[in-house]
Point group: C2
Chain length 374, copies 2
């Protein structure tokens, strides 16, 4: 069981706290992705310093290397990667579909070959939950099937129904412990009736939190928001809600407005390694030659190492020279930007000012980056 | 002019201080290499925290990208890379020879094509010194020819004589400023007479410090030490001595014993990016499967992030997964190991205990890494 306290609401948006065995998560919260037991290019203490209360670990990657059993023998994922705060693990379902080879799905689970060495492996709901136990996850995710997009109503329905049967098996396999919980995942593609049936099925099983899955797969922001508009109201009010794999800053603002509490996405970290920065003036590509002689900071409203210690010209140089420090500084900056955005959203909800916050956010993002120095 | 104070001696070994415009360098000192305006995989404040008083910048790389003129316009190399302590720049000579294409050497200097874009460029002694001025280097190196190894006496003599004429032109081109100095470079391959003539020529020109060049090019440690045995005594006692491009830990101990004060080498940083660690028990390859389940720290005598926060098993995992954090942690560890070694050498010289220090160092290095856990 994990605790959830709703501290304030502003429209559908919520300000809350999720209590886990490894500390309290202030929501709305963004979870940096720590795929292979590391948030890429970051020391864990620096991830925490950006303002993250929780990170996400990927079951698929960790079960292949170094394996869940090895991590358990080494004291669990928190100790292994030196991250004392909360960890949510995904179920492995999504990445089995997107990364493995020769996968075969049946009622029991998924058989596949590792993308690392071709070894044949199986994951079932029971095995996924066992792995997440071995890792020592604070928040375990139910094992589900990743519905392709687009999918016909018939395909989406069959897939959702399988995921609901797997959700029940996941819940059964989960061993309750204080401060550790399991979330169910609503599926149903872009079909309101399926989303409602899925939400109802999960609520009847009973989970510590509810995720919205199967989005951020190419449907676009409008379609995603439309799904949230009819799905979120079907979720229990007293439990945290997690939108999986989302997203860019405007996705987060729109989803928080629609009642989502938690997010994860590789965007800030992956973009940090490709010289793409999120700022208070929108997205900035530091590879662009316009920055080569620019003495100004990347984002004057940001307090991270990249923005307080260096010029745009230097960050441009690092990106052109493919220097690791460029990935380090821009990853930190992006995580700080995301954490600051969530902090801003939390404050706005607390004071009932989310509409103003969103208007300001949209205005500065629309204004675009600072003009080049003449 | 830069200051040099000799604080203690133990045999030929010296404990000193070099005073520059960007702080005092405690010698014997190791200088981490910051090739492209970054010590790879390290934030500059973390480089300083390992114990480094000075880093080295590479003229060849910086003149190509982002160019010396651009760095000057941006306020100089210290500001550009956010490194407030001292910087030594090499002359570009060595890397023009080893990295550029279609190079042509004549009395005037070197014509070559950039390895980045094929652009035709020239470096002369005068241009090299100008570039180092533009960068804002605390210690400028005279421009010299890199003598190939092995070289016949005749080839080595012609090369050394050219380098001495270039040294005089470098000295003439250098503008004296407080806290900034220029070092000459002794050449002459493995020929005592040439090394002596070179040292004499440089001393007559008069430099702020004297480097021994043309070593660590495949001659082996014994041959290198032999060169130092007859070259170092020919250098002025009241000026710092710098052994260029050296080396592994035992090279440093042996060279300090022979009267060298300063070193630079890519070994700790490059090794950190290939999972090779220097420890109080010798060199450890973290890619080796023996570390996969090892809960112990890499080096229990080390206080760096890698050794205090993580197990060998985790560092092994990072190296197998090619994670940037592996490069970050092991680079920091190696720089800390080198800085600690220099600190140890300084303390030993101060108390007249260098022989004991060296014996202890050799014994622990020879003992090898800790045995695997049964």
């Amino acid at each position: 069981m994990i605790g959830f306290t709703l501290k304030a609401e502003d429209g559908a948006a919520r300000r809350g706290e999720v209590a886990t065995a490894h500390g309290t998560i202030q929501t709305p919260a963004f979870m940096p992705v720590g795929t292979a037991a590391t948030v890429k290019a970051m020391r864990p203490e620096d991830v925490a310093a950006t303002g993250a209360d929780i990170i996400l670990g990927n079951t698929y990657h960790l079960m292949l290397r170094p394996t869940a059993e090895r991590i358990a023998a080494l004291g669990g994922l928190h100790k292994f990667m030196n991250w004392p705060k909360a960890i949510l693990t995904d179920s492995g379902g999504f990445q089995v579909m997107s990364l493995s080879e020769l996968r075969k799905i049946d009622e029991k689970g998924v058989t596949f070959r590792s993308h690392l060495d071709g070894a044949k492996m199986e994951v079932s709901p029971e095995r996924s939950i066992e792995i997440q136990h071995l890792l020592g996850s604070d928040i375990t995710m139910a094992f589900d099937e990743c519905t392709p997009f687009p999918a016909t109503l018939e395909v989406a329905e069959k897939s959702m129904e399988l995921s609901m049967r797997w959700a029940a098996r996941s819940r059964d396999a989960f061993k309750n412990r204080d401060g550790m919980g399991i979330f169910g995942i609503v599926q149903g593609s872009v079909y309101p009736e399926l989303r409602h049936r899925s939400a109802k099925a999960l609520t009847e099983i009973g989970f510590d939190g509810y995720a919205v899955g199967g989005l951020a797969v190419g449907e676009g922001q409008d379609a995603m928001f439309a799904v949230l508009d009819y799905t979120v109201p079907a979720l229990p009010r007293d439990r945290p809600r997690y939108l999986m794999g989302v997203g860019k800053p405007s996705d987060l603002v729109g989803a928080v407005t629609r009642g989502i509490d938690m997010f994860d996405c590789v965007m800030p970290t992956r973009s940090g390694r490709t010289a793409q920065a999120f700022t208070h003036r929108g997205t900035v590509n530091l590879r662009n030659a316009r920055h080569a002689d620019d003495t100004r900071p990347l984002d004057e409203k940001c307090g991270c190492h990249a923005c307080t210690g260096y010029s745009r010209a230097y960050l441009h140089h690092l990106s052109k020279a493919n220097e690791i420090l460029g990935s380090m500084l821009l990853t930190e900056h992006n995580l700080r930007y995301y954490a600051d955005l969530m902090r801003g959203l939390r404050g706005a909800i607390e004071r009932g000012g989310l509409a103003d916050f969103t208007a300001d956010f949209n205005a500065t993002q629309d204004a675009g980056d600072i003009p080049p120095i003449e």
